[in-house]
């Protein structure tokens, strides 16, 4: 296996890693989602004692163009959704440590070498994410002060991002006690938390957001905390919760 060569024009795109299932038949689970490039399917590749979820991608069309494409918002949106579709489908059937977006290997040998070097970190993360889902929480002010939209005139993705960045930096830091109280209450139920909002940080009236790793058996407790704050903040702040997600934000060194 380790020496199986993909064609020279191909690379392997990694979606994530699952514990290897020994039972016959399980390793060949079919994933219906299309691969990251919309052409190649998603395969389960036994690798270094784990199961790696991969797709073949074209070296020149996909791998080498990745950096340029990351600045192309249409491309990023389309491929981000494909990545999510594949990872979510896998996560419905197995524990998966999601790989970071854009993780590519030259072939199975390079992948296996990398996986073996991360064996310890991977096992720690499997333990951490077991029976838990990722949830996003956002708090918005209900007031609607007029905020002009970022101009549609930005000529390039880069200009748009820079304009958006400047705008977010102008926003005053939210140091609101009550919002911090919500964060603390959620964190006390969750197994872990992480900052979030790399992409949606510019939403109007957004005052706070974070991502939590919530054990499934604590879900009722989690919802109770949220409902308590929704009632308390009625008319002043709005809470939006999204999930469940695969544990994208909690993979640490293993992703």
């Amino acid at each position: 296996m380790a020496n199986t060569k993909v064609g020279t024009a191909e690379a392997l795109y990694l979606y994530g890693i699952s514990p290897e299932v020994k039972k016959a038949g399980k390793n060949t689970a079919r994933i219906a989602a299309s691969g990251i490039d919309g052409v190649h399917g998603v395969d389960a590749l036994p690798c270094g004692g784990f199961l790696c979820w991969v797709s073949q991608v074209d070296q020149s069309a996909f791998a080498k163009a990745l950096e340029t494409n990351m600045e192309n918002l249409d491309w990023l949106a389309e491929h981000g959704v494909r990545h999510q579709e594949a990872v979510a489908e896998i996560a419905r059937n197995a524990t998966i440590v999601p790989a970071r977006f854009g993780t590519l290997f030259s072939g199975p040998a390079a992948l296996e070498k990398n996986i073996r070097s991360r064996e310890k970190a991977l096992n720690q993360v499997f333990e951490k994410i077991a029976d838990a889902d990722e949830w996003g929480v956002k708090v918005f002010n209900e007031r609607q002060p007029h905020t002009p939209a970022v101009t549609a005139a930005a000529a390039t993705g880069r200009e748009y991002l820079q304009e958006k960045a400047a705008r977010i930096k102008r926003r005053p830091e939210s140091s609101n006690e009550e919002v911090r109280e919500l964060g603390d209450a959620l964190a006390s139920v969750a197994r872990d938390s992480a900052p979030s909002g790399k992409v949606s940080g510019g939403q109007v009236d957004l005052v706070w957001q974070a991502t939590f790793l919530v054990p499934r058996k604590k879900h009722a407790q989690w919802e109770r905390v949220l409902r308590e704050f929704v009632e308390r903040w009625s008319g002043t702040r709005r809470i939006e919760v999204n999930g469940p997600w695969p544990p994208y934000s909690f993979v640490g060194d293993a992703g």
Binding site: V81, H83, E134, A165, R227, E240, S249
Partner: protein, 78 residues
């Protein structure tokens, strides 16, 4: 995992569809990998400040376009 694309909005009013924004928020939250290295900045802008004007593009639209083999439609944000 139940209904991973279904948003649960508690006391919110922002609609029935999880936006593309949420997907990218989570998918990109740990950074991205380019040339084998982890990067947390794009276009010279810290990812923390990355914002897309695809806020109103729902996943449904994105998926429909993917199915149709097209490119995701980018709607103006209001």
């Amino acid at each position: 995992m139940q209904a991973d694309l279904e948003p649960i909005t508690i006391g919110g009013s922002s609609g029935d569809e999880v936006s593309l924004l949420e997907i990218l928020d989570h998918v990109l939250n740990s950074g991205v990998v380019l040339h084998g290295s982890l990067v947390i900045s794009l276009a010279g802008v810290d990812l923390v400040y990355l914002g897309l004007n695809v806020i109103l593009t729902s996943v449904e639209t994105a998926l429909r376009n993917l199915e149709a083999g097209g490119v995701i439609e980018k709607r103006a944000s209001k």
